[in-house]
Amino acid sequence: MRTIAALRLPARLPAAIGLALLVAIVVVLVLVPLVMILLRAVFDSEAGAWAPTARHIVAVLTGAIYWQALASTILVAAVAAALATALGTALAWIFVRTTTVGRAVLEQIAQMPIFIPPFVGAVAWALLLAPRVGAINRILAMIGIPLEIDVYTHGGMAWVMGIYLAPYVMMIVAAALRSIDPSLEEAAQVFGLGKLQTALRITAPLIAPAILSGAVLAFTIAVGLFGTPVVLGWSRQILLLTSRIWIGSQATPPDYGTMAALSVWLIVLSLAATAAQRYALAGKSYITVTGKGFRPRPVELGPWAVLTFALSLVYVILAIAAPLVVLVAAALSAYTWSGHYSLANLTAALGSDDVWSTMQTSVILSAAAATLAVALGLAIAWVTSRTRLPGRQALEYLVLLPISVPGIAFGVGVMFAWIDLPVAVYGTALIILFAFIGRFTSYAVRSISASLVQLHPELEESARVFGYGPLRTFARITFPLILPSVLASWILLFSFFMTELSMVILLYSEQSRMFSVLSFEVWNVGDFSRLAALSLLQTSIGLALAVALKSVFGQRAV
């Protein structure tokens, strides 16, 4: 007994040190930025001296422009979420439950908009629907329809956000539809409910939690979007909370207090949505993830199949095809809609040193951040699911916190965390690295935890029994088995980072000017031909990564 006890202490020491290290990293990268947002909203910092103040909170609560920004944010995000939910649910039903021609391929394509950066989508729709000069408006005018659609409105923003958020809802609802035991619906039929009654009384309530989750996800993403509302709202000064935060950062000196107070608003909004979802769903999780796949009986649509096919095709055209076509056309135009096309313009736009240096920065920073975030996520996921170290739950809770914090708000927090410190982080590429890791490690933790949970511990235990030590067991058994989800997390994070704008726009410096910043600057000066060329490049990288992700993870991507 004594020898065992004597052996245990040193054996546990490395584990304790490792855990302490993880906690320290997470506290610095995740918790400190979040706390700093709150502190900066109620304290003024003058050369290291902190003084409490209600000034910023009062300014935000009494300023009409801030209430307008809040109202616009809620309005646009709610309409966008409603549109995304309606579209996403309809598409999920069409792809999972009907015999619509080409549904398997259409479902794959309909997931692609997730990989089109929101900024690029907004640029493309500005080219399509700008008043007078938008491609669709010109076509309408040409064929004599006296109708002009204006994308530079609340409705326009909600429309563009909605179609790009629809795939998130679609994937959640489709997964729920696939996991319903078909006999639940068959039983309803046997006991006398017709098709419509079965849909309303059985199927709808069963997938309602998934629809609600999708809607809340769409709302929280919409609240935190920066690129779309700036591109579509700037010309008419329709400014959302995120735009106001950015304006605060452009002031000289930057208006840190207002930025902090507005970030608190953003966080409150997405927490409120999440809390409402929790409340509505209390005790209503019917979909048990058993890993058991069901083959639901498809609905025979008859002539209606044309309609469902048309709807999915229209979605693909609106979300992907039309934006791509208009970007290509604009990129090839000498200047916007001149009617003169040439490749020279495109090659000139893409061949500049600026493009290649920012692209290089983007790739290096994104790859480094994705690698570090996945490594950290892997360590945390392993500790929480495979050890009994005290404090592991707190660790997981901490790292998942930023999931409901909009990117720009988190960026504000990261900025506050380092700005006054004597160490050279603010103003270097490091701060972007820290922001990426702090905000997005949660994604890696979730995805890797999910696959660790599915991996039966006996697979590892039997390796131990047959003579592998803990490290070899991890390297030879655990890691190879969860490699697909590790790779998938890496690709997903890399693609997020490559197009991230809302944090980068606050944190970049000359040394860390990323490609997304370059696009934003080109938009700022209004050079739409060059902007289209850059957007095309970003989109093709995004789509290439999407294809890579599919091939790593098969059907279960994202």
Binding site: D181, S183, E186, A188, Q189, V190, G192, L193, I202, L206
Partner: protein, 350 residues
């Protein structure tokens, strides 16, 4: 209210799952469809329920045609007035026990008072009277099974279809539920068509047993009749255990055909055709002291003591023979035994 199926066929892609089945499932009785997976038993049930559309044939419930290929008739499931227990129980997780059980009545537009009264009675009958307001997700497997039964009782349908209803229960509960289902059926008088792959379950619950293989009914009959007189090797081996013997000799003694197993001479079973095998159930053998004249001599190669009985396998002149004994005899591998069997217990199969 019998169920009649005529020439019922079902083709999935290139595979014929049902090959022109024609049967009448009797009113007020339990008909059991038994067979290995893929034999077509569940497909038959789902065709009767209206959950699967047959490829050809006809189905009538109580004289009312619910499916026919020519001229086409297809009554959808919700208008066939049937009740069903699913393998997964199909208890709706977003409803309470009461809501689950009352749905058939609500679907039929019954009055509130009648619903409360009938659901209460059905829940009492299955012993769940206390749990009416409980959420369906908080039920154990056995309780879900009872909710599924109560739902059938409440529906008032004289036809209940059961698709492997006991396969998700643990062994003891499964045996208890057999008896319970049978007692309920005796009390309420509905007819049940019951699908299972478990031969013991089939025997203990059935009035009439239908053994399916490759989409056809191979043999049917009351359980005892079926067990005592299997007609094919497949039926003999699927239902219970059987010694199938090919290496016996045929002789004629005083104009009567006889068979010989080692030194054991027996009258040939009636109508024994050429090429048939003998079928002798393990519990029909009598084992005695070795070297008795006029017996089948054997040497025990393996014994298994199962508490209430002793099973052994013996090497004999006609191959390996399995024997089940209730006796206290202490047998060990290597012992020699003499085997005899009563002539009426020797059957033939093809």
């Amino acid at each position: 209210m019998p169920i009649e199926v005529a020439n019922l066929s079902k083709v999935f892609g290139q595979v014929a799952v049902l090959r022109a089945i024609s049967e009448v499932f009797a009113d007020g009785k339990i008909s059991v469809l038994l067979g290995a997976s893929g034999c077509g038993k569940t497909t038959t049930l789902r065709c009767i329920a209206g959950l699967e559309r047959p490829s050809a044939g006809a189905i009538a419930i109580d004289g009312r045609t619910v499916y026919r290929d020519q001229p086409a008739v297809f009554v959808p499931a919700e208008r066939r007035r049937i009740a069903m227990v699913f393998q997964s129980y199909a208890i709706w997780p977003h409803m309470t026990v009461f809501q689950n059980v009352s749905l058939p009545l609500r679907a039929a537009g019954a009055e509130r008072r009648a619903i409360v009264q009938r659901v209460g009675a059905a829940l009492d009958l299955v012993g769940l009277g206390e749990l009416a307001s409980r959420s369906a997700t908080q039920l154990s497997g056995g309780q879900q099974q009872r909710v599924a039964l109560a739902r059938c009782i409440v529906s008032g349908s004289p036809v209940i279809l059961m698709d492997e209803p006991l396969s998700n229960l643990d062994a003891n509960l499964r045996i208890a539920m057999r008896t319970e289902i049978r007692n309920l059926q005796r009390r309420l008088g509905q007819m049940i068509v019951f699908v299972t792959h478990d031969q013991e379950e089939a025997m203990s619950i059935a009035d009439t047993l239908y053994l399916l293989r490759d989409g056809e009914v191979l043999q049917k009959g009351a359980p005892r009749e079926f067990y005592e007189n299997p007609r094919t090797r497949y039926a003999a081996e699927f239902l219970g255990r059987a010694n199938l013997i090919d290496q016996f000799a045929r002789e004629t003694h005083e104009d009567a055909p006889r068979i010989r197993l080692g030194d054991l001479m027996l009258p040939a079973p009636a109508g024994l055709p050429a090429g048939a095998s003998l079928c002798i159930r393990p519990e029909k053998w009598r084992a005695g002291a070795p070297d008795a004249p006029g017996t089948l001599a054997g040497r025990i190669v393996e014994t298994r003591y199962v508490g209430d009985r002793l099973e052994f396998i013996a090497d004999t002149a006609v191959g390996r023979i399995s024997v089940v004994e209730m006796s206290e005899a202490d047998r060990r591998a290597g012992d020699r035994v003499s085997l005899t069997v009563a002539p009426r217990d020797v059957k033939w199969v093809q």
